[in-house]
């Protein structure tokens, strides 16, 4: 570790830490000498090298080396209660403030607008219920797209006395802004739109949705869980939520950003922590690690994401050539760089996942036979897409090209075997 963090600025205001956020001054992040022992050969010394065959980054990105180092250091240096007045507490407080400044800068927010939660789901719940509480006099109608993450849909249904209404999407999974606008015109307490779809990768028209919401005076929550660390973070939000394990931070850290002036009121019992927005003792070491991971993700984004985008393009082009009766889903261009989804006719998703797992490849599926609820993904259903034999491949930063080659090499045989088992050859 760099050492500075061992000696918190004596009596120093947090702004001294904040000023250093992202530039290597007193914090525990990025570029510490400890990095030297770690990463195998890669494009840069801070590059991640995910486990071989791991192609499910949209579920969870493996912990980045910079985050691991920051976490270990912060466990020693950031364990105390940051709200107290003694040496260890001040050190924890400075670390937390630096992490907040750093994350806020990436989100296009002010530090005091950013709170850390215990998960992305908790951030969504507090974000939505808080907007509903702040707007109780404007009714309790909640307007979202039909393809939001289940956390958003469940939170929308949990608004006291609320009614959730969803706007349709086109076959690519993109929100119909006209329909969204029409629903808003009937009155709403709040609206929520994802930055990009978590299953098919299609970017949502957040700017147009924000414009519509603004015109109707309805606050907009943007669920940016799949974009932060991978793609541009949209603006125009009243509340923005994200999740650290999606960008290579640790699990157990979410982000809730509430724009200054937004009519948001905490739906939880009073607790002064995290700006009064999130109850409970904040996990400073994990938050520090989350901020370190995001700095690392941002530092390599402009070089790494084009590489992932090209690998996804290859999958999109090759899979339909290699496997008969496959439908590639989502927008081919206006999409997340690292996510691709396709469905295979006459295939059950569970058998497909098992076959790929045996080949050492980890992916996920939105098919009904894989889900707990025995229903296909609501995203695929809303798109009117084929849901059987569905696979989502999402590339972690630093993924080896070889893993993509291997997927393309084994997929035709895995699909053919499932079809043969089901007696579906030649149909």
């Amino acid at each position: 570790m760099s050492g500075e963090a061992d000696q918190p600025v004596p009596g120093g205001p947090s702004s001294q830490v904040g000023a250093g956020a992202g530039s290597g001054s007193p914090n525990l992040r990025g570029g510490a000498p400890g990095a030297a022992d770690g990463p195998p050969a890669g494009p840069a010394t801070t590059a991640s090298r995910p486990p071989a065959g791991y192609l499910d980054a949209a579920s969870s990105e493996p912990l980045r080396p910079a985050a691991r180092q920051a976490l270990l250091a912060a466990l020693d240096q950031g364990w105390a209660d940051p709200s107290r007045r003694y040496h260890d507490a001040r050190r924890a407080s400075l670390l937390l403030a630096a992490a907040r400044e750093s994350v806020a800068a990436v989100l296009g927010a002010r530090a005091d607008e950013v709170s850390f939660t215990a998960s992305g789901t908790q951030a969504v719940h507090l974000g939505m219920l808080g907007l509903a509480a702040g707007r109780a006099r404007s009714g309790s109608r909640v307007v979202t797209s039909a393809v939001e993450h289940s956390a958003v849909l469940h939170a929308g249904r949990a608004v006291p006395g609320g009614a959730l209404v969803t706007a349709p999407v086109d076959p690519l999974g993109r929100l119909d802004v006209g329909a969204f606008d029409a629903l808003l015109s009937e009155g709403a307490a709040l609206a929520a739109v994802q930055s990009a779809n978590h299953e098919v990768g299609t970017r949502q028209p957040v700017a147009a949705a924000a414009e519509a919401a603004g015109r109707h005076g309805v606050p907009l929550l943007v669920d940016a869980a799949q974009s932060v660390g991978h793609d541009e973070v949209p603006s125009g939000w009243s509340v923005l939520t994200a999740s650290a394990h999606k960008w290579g931070g640790p699990a157990g850290v979410g982000v809730l950003a509430v724009r200054t002036g937004a009519r948001w009121r905490s739906p939880s019992p009073d607790d002064p922590r995290e700006g009064g927005r999130v109850p409970g003792f904040v996990d400073v070491p994990s938050v520090v690690a989350a901020a370190a991971a995001l700095e690392a993700a941002e530092a390599e984004r402009r070089s790494e994401m084009p590489r992932l985008r090209a690998l996804v393009d290859r999958i999109r082009a090759r899979v339909p050539e290699l496997v008969p009766d496959v439908v590639v889903l989502g927008d081919p261009d206006d999409r997340l760089p690292h996510v691709v989804t396709f469905s295979c006719l006459y295939v059950d998703g569970e058998a497909l996942l098992d076959g790929l797992d045996r080949a050492g490849l980890a992916v996920s599926s939105g098919s009904s036979c894989v889900a707990d609820a025995l229903e296909p993904s609501h995203v695929l259903a809303a798109m009117g897409a084929l849901t059987q034999g569905n696979l989502r491949v999402s590339l972690p930063s630093g993924v080896a090209e070889d893993d993509v080659d291997r997927l393309l090499a084994v997929l035709p045989d895995v699909v053919a075997r499932v079809r043969a088992t089901l007696g579906a050859e030649g149909l």
């Binding site: 296909p376 259903a381 034999g389 149909l427």
Partner: protein, 92 residues
């Protein structure tokens, strides 16, 4: 159309495929098999698999079949899909 009790009656068809109790992707596979056996038939598929609501229309567009009608199964148990050959001149 309705019968004498005022109950909605399924449209005319040549064959019923009762796939209720079977899970995705079996109902669509049965539909494809029956279509292969006699491409000219109008098939009424009965299924209680939730995935069919997405997958039957998707299959029809992939295979150039016409989904003429969708509604509840005649006995109310599950859904019914009437799948017909393409209109004259479009081939199969």
């Amino acid at each position: 159309m309705t019968d004498t009790d005022g109950v909605v009656v399924r449209p005319p068809h040549d064959r019923v495929l009762d796939e209720r109790g079977k899970r995705c992707p079996m109902p669509v596979i049965s539909l494809a098999r029956a279509t292969n056996v006699d491409p000219g038939q109008r098939l009424l598929l009965l299924t209680d698999d939730a995935a069919a609501l997405s997958d039957v229309p998707a299959w029809c567009s992939l295979r150039g079949r016409v989904l003429e009608w969708t509604g509840p199964a005649p006995d109310g148990m599950g859904d019914a899909f009437l799948v017909a050959p393409p209109a004259e001149g479009e081939g199969s």
